[in-house]
């Protein structure tokens, strides 16, 4: 990792608005502005505004682009409709068992080029971007696919919360506002937001309704400020990575490097839906690691991902041992106070024998046993979205 962290186009804004900046995955990012709890609750109740420009943004274009990604990703890509996004894993067949999970990613089929050529966009984790880019480049065919890393030339702004979509829409013309408010979950469109061309998707990492907006780097601050100012009277708060983490934890969403690692069994951690072993006609697909994943599906792993709820606010952290009647039965992968719930929660990998809801377990936090019980994920579920 480079010694000087990279700056997003919004880094100066964060610094001049009280952001507490840290080096996260090689990027100079705000962990919070004032209070993580306040930022978290603003997202649940109104709007949270997040700079997620550190995430890697890749584009794949060309006549062979759909077929190429279909041959590489764990999710079906060939049948993506224009404007549809899918959550997928990026795998290689390296490693002792013929499977290395390089990352999880969102792949979106954007509007075709004017000549009808398909165009796709991928969003990958900042921490994995270099190796995912290197892997994809190593798999490029001689012709038919044009692949580019657009991270530096663009910015990505997540607007999340019950009032997020309406707030973005006031910055758009009527047609774009109508298209954005009409987007289904995991659907995307082009729009002009605050006067700037943008890719807008109904996606996020908070468990709330909302959108993620990708704009050119030099337009980022204007769009951010416009959303900020439009949302402020409605309760918007700019949010750092701290609130992003507590929100995704409450929403039961895995984070690469914690719940999901290179040799994870996706079926044991609730990510079976991210793996399509077969195509729509029930024929086996071909992608790196497919055989290893098929074997995992046949032989269930001994440990599965569960949610743990505590009575206390004291949080278990990654690596905290989980015990039952004094015997080790698992390990915490993420833990924190859940601000919406008022008590601590954790996700953990535990033995199947103790994975049923309501099973009482102990978690060792700095050697002290803290009582917890298994609860269904997600910990927090938002009210039904308004229609």
């Amino acid at each position: 990792m480079s010694s000087t962290p990279l700056r997003t186009p919004l880094a100066t804004w964060h610094e001049t608005h009280g952001g507490r900046m840290v080096d996260f995955a090689g990027w100079w990012m705000p962990v919070q502005y004032a209070s993580i709890v306040d930022e978290h609750l603003a997202t649940r109740q109104a709007i949270g505004l997040f700079d997620v420009s550190h995430m890697g943004r890749l584009t794949v274009e060309g006549p062979a682009s759909l077929a190429w990604l279909e041959s590489l990703l764990t999710r079906r890509v060939a049948n993506l409709a224009v404007g549809q996004a899918r959550y997928t894993l990026v795998t290689s067949d390296e490693g002792p068992d013929g499977l290395t999970i390089l990352d999880d990613a969102l792949v979106t089929r954007e509007a075709d080029a004017p000549d009808g050529t398909p165009r796709l966009a991928m969003v990958v984790n900042a921490s994995n971007r270099d190796r995912v880019v290197a892997w994809l480049r190593s798999q490029l065919p001689a012709v038919g696919v044009s692949f580019a890393d657009r991270t530096a030339e663009t910015a990505m702004i997540a607007v999340q919360g019950p009032l997020a979509v309406a707030t973005v829409c006031v910055l758009c013309g009527d047609d774009d506002a109508g298209r954005i408010s009409g987007l289904g979950t995991y659907r995307a469109t082009r729009a002009v937001v605050a006067g700037q061309p943008a890719a807008v998707s109904r996606t996020g990492y908070t468990g709330e309704d909302g959108v993620e907006v990708v704009v050119a780097a030099d337009a980022a601050e204007a769009v951010w400020q416009a959303i900020h100012d439009a949302g402020r009277p409605r309760g918007l708060k700019p949010c750092g990575l701290g609130a992003r983490d507590t929100l995704r934890l409450e929403a039961g969403m895995p984070l690469y490097g914690h719940e999901l690692v290179a040799d994870s069994d996706p079926f044991a951690i609730g990510l079976g839906l991210a793996v399509n072993l077969d195509d729509a006609a029930a024929r086996p697909r071909r992608f790196p690691g497919r055989d290893a994943l098929a074997a995992m599906k046949r032989s269930p792993a001994p440990r599965v991902r569960v949610g743990l709820a505590f009575d206390s606010r004291r949080a278990a952290r990654e690596g905290s041992p989980v015990v039952a009647v004094g015997l080790p039965v698992g390990t915490v992968t993420s833990g924190s106070l859940a601000p919406s719930l008022g008590h601590a929660v954790a996700m953990a990998l535990v033995d199947r024998a103790v994975a049923a809801a309501d099973t009482p377990l102990d978690v060792l936090i700095r050697e002290a046993a803290q009582p917890a019980k298994v609860v269904p994920l997600p910990f927090f579920k938002r009210r039904a979205p308004r229609t």
Partner: protein, 125 residues
């Protein structure tokens, strides 16, 4: 703030009291830097501690931090009300937000700590 209050580099304050005791807490700067406090663990009354030894922990949403004894001595009282109302630390860190009372082994040890001006300079640097 009392002129005889001293500070450790690890952000605890200590103030001499009548009867050879001293009160210990954590600085307003430390409370502000931690933010979102969720949990505090206090030491047992009667415990003998060395300067720099952990006397408990304070946890925020993002991190757990140790609290350290600014001087060597015996813990004679702890603020048992504090863990249940951690907001007191933010409102009154040098008063109602006190954490422990300690009987220093050597009153002179407090003289080795930072005074207010030196501590302010430390946290502004």
């Amino acid at each position: 703030m009392a002129a005889d209050m001293k500070f450790a580099k690890t952000h605890e304050w200590i103030r001499p009291e009548a009867g050879g005791l001293a009160t210990v807490g954590i600085s307003a700067y430390a409370v502000e830097a931690l933010t979102d406090l969720v949990f505090m663990q206090l030491p047992a009354v009667g415990r003998k501690v060395k300067a720099g030894e952990s006397i408990g922990e304070i946890e925020s949403v993002k991190a757990v931090s140790d609290m350290y004894a600014p001087v060597s001595g015996e813990i004679v009282e702890v603020n048992t009300a504090l863990p249940g109302q951690l907001e007191t630390l933010g409102k009154d860190p040098y008063g109602a937000g006190w954490i422990v009372r300690i009987r220093p082994d050597d009153q002179a040890e407090m003289g080795t700590l930072l005074d207010q001006a030196a501590y302010d300079a430390l946290v502004k640097s």
